[in-house]
């Protein structure tokens, strides 16, 4: 036996250890009917990567995801935050129906570690969604994460700077997010199997007392 064969066997062992599940739905409802109507399959692309390019932090870019994350978590899957720029605030997530025991917060020391951790988490069938904030990412790595998401049947969300919209990306879905007076303006920049170029206004998490 030669070394490449051994590594191949190791890879097989890893795959066997990870186990496999039956088919999963191809989309996770976003919780916003107007958005779901525009997304292929009627929701966020499960088993793929979605890129969210927000004009600024704090305009509702995470609130946009929270209904879908809550739904995935209540279905028993874990939600993994990889090195977020701000602390996910536990009382707010709990208020929005996200069971905290399904939340994992991973701190990393480098971009390389973040990508590694993101890939591991996406591959894990016990994980429903993984959120990452890579400072920069090349197409090859997006593709790699997409394969991991497909293997794990999970949803990968990459928060990227607005300038990333100028480059192409293999991600299945790319949205630009703009601040709007009454919520969030969501521009579909790229949608595999769907239509791009549309802008929707969504009333993401209200700041008013319920």
């Amino acid at each position: 036996m030669n070394t490449p064969l051994t590594l191949e066997q190791l890879a097989r062992l890893c795959r066997d250890a990870a186990g496999s599940h039956g088919p999963r739905p191809a989309a996770a409802p976003s919780g916003f009917a107007e958005l779901d109507a525009r997304l292929p399959g009627g929701g966020w692309p499960v088993g793929a990567i979605a890129e969210l390019m927000s004009d600024a932090p704090g305009i509702g870019e995470l609130s946009l995801m929270v209904p879908a994350l809550s739904r995935l978590a209540r279905a028993g899957r874990h939600i993994v935050w990889i090195a977020p720029p701000y602390l996910p605030y536990a009382p707010a997530l709990a208020q929005r129906g996200l069971p905290l025991e399904r939340v994992l917060l991973i701190q990393t020391g480098s971009l390389k570690e973040s990508l590694w951790a993101m890939e591991q988490a996406l591959r894990c069938p016990a994980v429903g969604a993984v959120l990452g904030w890579p400072a920069s990412i090349v197409d090859r790595n997006v593709r790699r994460l997409q394969l991991a998401a497909a293997a794990g049947g999970s949803l990968g969300i990459l928060y990227r700077p607005p300038e990333a919209a100028r480059e192409s990306s293999p991600a299945a879905l790319r949205l630009r997010l703009h601040a709007a007076a009454d919520g969030l303006a969501v521009e579909i920049h790229k949608s595999r199997g769907g239509n791009a170029g549309l802008t929707l206004r969504l009333a993401v998490a209200s700041t008013a007392v319920a």
Binding site: L13, A18, D55, P57, G76
Partner: protein
Amino acid sequence: MSGGLWLCIRLPRLAHEALATAHHAAGTEAAGAEIAGAECGGDRAAIEAIEAIEQAAMERLAAWAYQWSSRVSYRLADGPLLWLELGASRALFGGYGALLAKLTAELTQLGYSHACALAPSPAGAALLTQAEEPRCVTTLAQLRLRLELLPLALLALPPQVLAALHSAGLRRIGQLLALPAAAIARRFGPAASLYLQRLCGSASDPRPAWRMPAVYRARFEFDAEVRATTALLFPLRRLLLEFQGYLRGRDCAVLRFTLQFEHYRHPASALTIGMSAPTRDAAQLLLLARERLQLLQLPAPVSALRLQALEFTAASVLQGDFFGSDAQQLQQLQLLLDRLQARLGDQQVRGLALEADHRPERSWRLVAPQPPTALPDLPAGVRPCSLLQPPRLIEAPAVLLSGPERIESGWWDGGDATRDYYVARAGDGARLWVFQDLARGEWYLQGLWT
């Protein structure tokens, strides 16, 4: 009567294959040539070293075999042969066919050439490993019928006895068995007669039962020093598969095990690998070991690898033994947590929990990733998804969208806070969670409506 049913495994290339793994790791070739060279050259030291490797490999295989039988024995001469007594465990494994298939698959995975046979006597099973199929008989009558047609040369008798039998005109085992036992003893010696009775199961054949050691220690010596940690993975995989057999045999699991690295010119170094939940799954153990090995800086090239486990836990509801989807998810999650913690450190992998405190910065905490037991009450006001820790001093905001929400708390622990919280809007459209400290009049940014 010897009683029971014996599975015998012949491992004709045990020494070669144990050594080949050592060579493989060291990146060298030709284990067979080395063994042949040692034997031809009569190099006593080299032969002893090879025998020690063979003995160590057999000890690990005996521990592996113990998962299927509490009566395991082996013999290194003329074989080597490994026996498992199966009478009592037949029902456990869904019949012999399923057991044989599993055993054969694992031996192949371990990288050992093998031939298996099943018979109601240990000597009979050993003989059948060299015969053509069928090699499985379950009654003494079937065994006798099977043996009768086989050539005499298969008998485990000294060459001079076989030569004497041949010159007496005997060719098949049946012809010899037809002779009276007393006549055989007289003409070919009492040892030959006893062997034939044991072969047919008419005389008892006591064997020293292999004892399961209370702690697990396995050692793997490399034929040349290994520099790359990736080269350790190949022998480690075999060690862990054998270790899995030992754990199954003892019906237990481990929470941690230690890998020790021996070096020629440096004291031994060690790596302890811990799990978040007990396991005995070789694939999982290998994944964790691989993560840790990737980060390991070895002080010197490795001459031998040891695996040691001193503490064991009961195997109650174990991963891999239980196929409910919840248990499987838990197992997969544990695997993920172990991998992340192995590479990034325990403190980098956390969960979130609520705290019963009105002060926003104290109403949450990081916890080990475990399900919380009880949930404190949620705050009445709506909270933003992201928190700035600690709050950042800011200028008084220009645009306040809503508020105030008065939060007073902490007078009892010195963390006095009387604050009015507002939602403010920044120039770029971001919504901010800000408060004014009423004691000092200062404004702080504490959260973002991400």
